[in-house]
């Protein structure tokens, strides 16, 4: 129940585009205000049972309560808060594809019932594990006979072109998408696609022709008048279905294996060492009882799965190897794990960005958990990226109050490879120094050497 039916609260910075409403929070609770502009469409969707149907189907976040505001200016919906909000530039190819197909299926089902979507922003799709869920109730509105697919261009730029970038050019979408924030412009992709790709019907129409038509009409706007013209519903449906069929066939090009793609199969661990690591993590999760866990350097999600099997309810994994992430995603889907594997270059995590610098929040604002796994991860920052150990430890401790960190010493073959061609500028880099720094900020609950090379796991609890 709403404590008060006013709209007092903190408005979510990214919620300003659609005049139909906006999202705000009060404490831990999340609310959506429906304005007079959006009331008719919202009421129509509600009366037709569309919102209940989608919520029951777990395709739309639940509405927990509905009240008019005290001044009557808006209707206030209390809505379900999801454990994690993620951005499309943090999704792997497979996650983006899942989101794209989900969006198109949702749209087709809505059209079937006389409704449509007013936009096609990828930010309206979120994930619970790898299951997509739609978060914007006000994007759903009645279909008006003869109308166009209003979100077609947005869909192309926020879903289609990023997928084509990896599928046709073997370039991951993440860095580009993060830079532009609104996806990859059709005109940009049209410039870089090879000519033979442009000959297919789907590319020719959705990319090449769309770009040409856009460019051909950008000036001279005032010369032309308006005349009635409609898009038949069958044509609308056919376009959405064609887009769906095309996207369902797209796969990453993956012309070469990335460095960490096969790590889980060919890493430097022996079976017994691996087993020791599994046991340590299982014991940590059982003892400290974290419900949500962030797994930094998750690779294919092997230890995320161990955390889930030991009592964690939700894990978000991070890695910068896109092929490993796609495998983690496939594993999570096929084994029905509540694991969400996301892209992260820890040297440069997602920042706060967009309008006023706060529209899309960054990694450190959004990604907090009860527990942390940072296994075979620390040396990639401390050695390969020269991050001072004390800064690194403090960064880890911002993510979660408890967790497990693996320290990889110089005697380990991986670190030796990292230092093979460069000067060793890390005279203090050893397990004692790491332990000393960790102890200044946290309590070390236990530690265990898990490999012959001296890799050591530390279970910590942040000092309050």
């Amino acid at each position: 129940m709403l404590g008060a039916t006013s709209v007092d609260g903190v408005r979510i910075a990214g919620s300003f585009r659609d005049p139909a409403g906006y999202v705000f929070q009060r404490g831990d609770r999340l609310y959506r205000a429906v304005t007079k502009h959006g009331a008719a469409d919202y009421n129509a969707a509600k009366a037709a049972g569309i919102l209940t149907w989608l919520c029951d189907d777990r395709r739309l976040v639940r509405i927990l309560d509905e009240q008019p505001s005290s001044d009557g200016s808006v209707t206030v919906l209390e809505v379900e808060r999801l454990p994690w909000i993620t951005h499309p530039y943090e999704w792997s190819f497979q996650l983006l594809k899942i989101a794209a197909l989900f969006h198109l299926d949702l749209h087709l089902d809505l059209l079937d019932r006389g409704f449509t979507l007013s936009d096609a922003t990828a930010y309206n799709v979120q994930f619970v594990g790898t299951n997509p869920i739609f978060i914007d109730h006000l994007s759903i509105r009645p279909y008006r006979a003869g109308e166009f697919w209003a979100g077609h261009r947005q869909f192309c730029e926020q879903f289609l072109t990023p997928l084509l970038l990896r599928s046709y050019l073997d370039v991951p979408h993440n860095a580009w998408y993060r830079g532009s924030m609104e996806g990859i412009a059709v005109s940009d992709l049209a410039r870089i696609l090879p000519i033979h790709k442009k000959l297919s019907w789907n590319v020719l129409t959705n990319i090449v022709l769309q770009d040409k038509f856009q460019a051909g009409t950008s000036s001279e706007e005032k010369r032309f008048s308006v005349k009635e013209r409609k898009l038949p519903k069958q044509a609308f449906l056919a376009m959405v279905r064609q887009m769906r069929a095309w996207i369902s066939r797209l796969q990453p090009a993956d012309r070469k294996k990335t460095v960490w793609a096969d790590y889980s199969l060919i890493n430097t661990y022996r079976d017994a060492e691996r087993q020791a690591k599994h046991s340590f993590i299982a014991d940590y999760v059982r003892a400290a009882g974290p419900k949500t866990v962030i797994d930094l350097g998750c690779n294919t999600g092997e230890y995320s799965e161990r955390a889930l099997a030991s009592g964690a309810t939700s894990v978000v994994g991070f890695d910068f190897d896109v092929q490993a992430l796609d495998r983690a995603c496939d594993n999570a889907v096929s084994r029905k794990l509540n694991l969400l594997p996301l892209f992260l270059d820890a040297r440069n995590p997602s920042p706060n960005q967009g309008w006023m610098g706060t529209e899309r929040l960054g990694f450190s604002e959004r990604m907090k958990a009860d527990g942390l796994l940072a296994l075979a991860f620390e040396h990639h920052l401390a050695i390969a990226h020269n991050v001072p150990l004390d800064q690194l430890v403090q960064w880890f401790l911002l993510v979660a109050p408890t967790g497990v960190i693996e320290f990889v010493p110089k005697s380990d073959p991986t670190v030796q490879r990292m230092l093979a061609l460069r000067e060793d500028i890390f005279p203090n880099y050893d397990v004692h120094e790491f332990e000393r720094i960790l102890t200044t900020h946290a309590v070390i609950e236990r530690s265990e050497v898990v490999s012959q090379s001296g890799r050591t796991l530390f279970q910590f609890r942040r000092s309050s």
């Binding site: 585009r17 659609d18 005049p19 139909a20 007013s118 936009d119 509105r141 008006r144 003869g146 109308e147 166009f148 697919w149 209003a150 979100g151 077609h152 261009r153 947005q154 192309c156 059709v186 129409t205 959705n206 022709l209 769309q210 770009d211 040409k212 038509f213 856009q214 460019a215 051909g216 009409t217 950008s218 001279e220 706007e221 010369r223 032309f224 008048s225 308006v226 005349k227 009635e228 013209r229 409609k230 898009l231 038949p232 069958q234 044509a235 609308f236 449906l237 056919a238 376009m239 279905r241 064609q242």
Partner: protein
């Protein structure tokens, strides 16, 4: 001459593009609107053809099966 054709063509295209309000708070983009007018009908045609193609496939695969079951008897 070429210029005139370009202007005429873009004029025609624009006429189509701004024929109907998109009922949307976001700008759907003129390129997308024109595209939908141009290919909407074609997409519909493809969809219809695909239905007939499926029927033909079912017809032949159905015949194949019935032949096989005949042989099994």
């Amino acid at each position: 001459m070429k210029n005139k054709i370009t202007v005429a063509l873009s004029g025609w295209l624009f006429l189509i593009a701004f024929t109907n309000q998109a009922h949307a708070y976001l700008d759907p983009g003129t390129g997308s609107m024109i595209l939908q007018v141009v290919i909407g009908g074609i997409a519909m045609g493809f969809a219809t053809l695909s239905v007939y193609f499926q029927r033909v496939k079912v017809f032949f695969s159905g015949r194949g099966k019935s032949r096989k079951s005949d042989a099994d008897r």
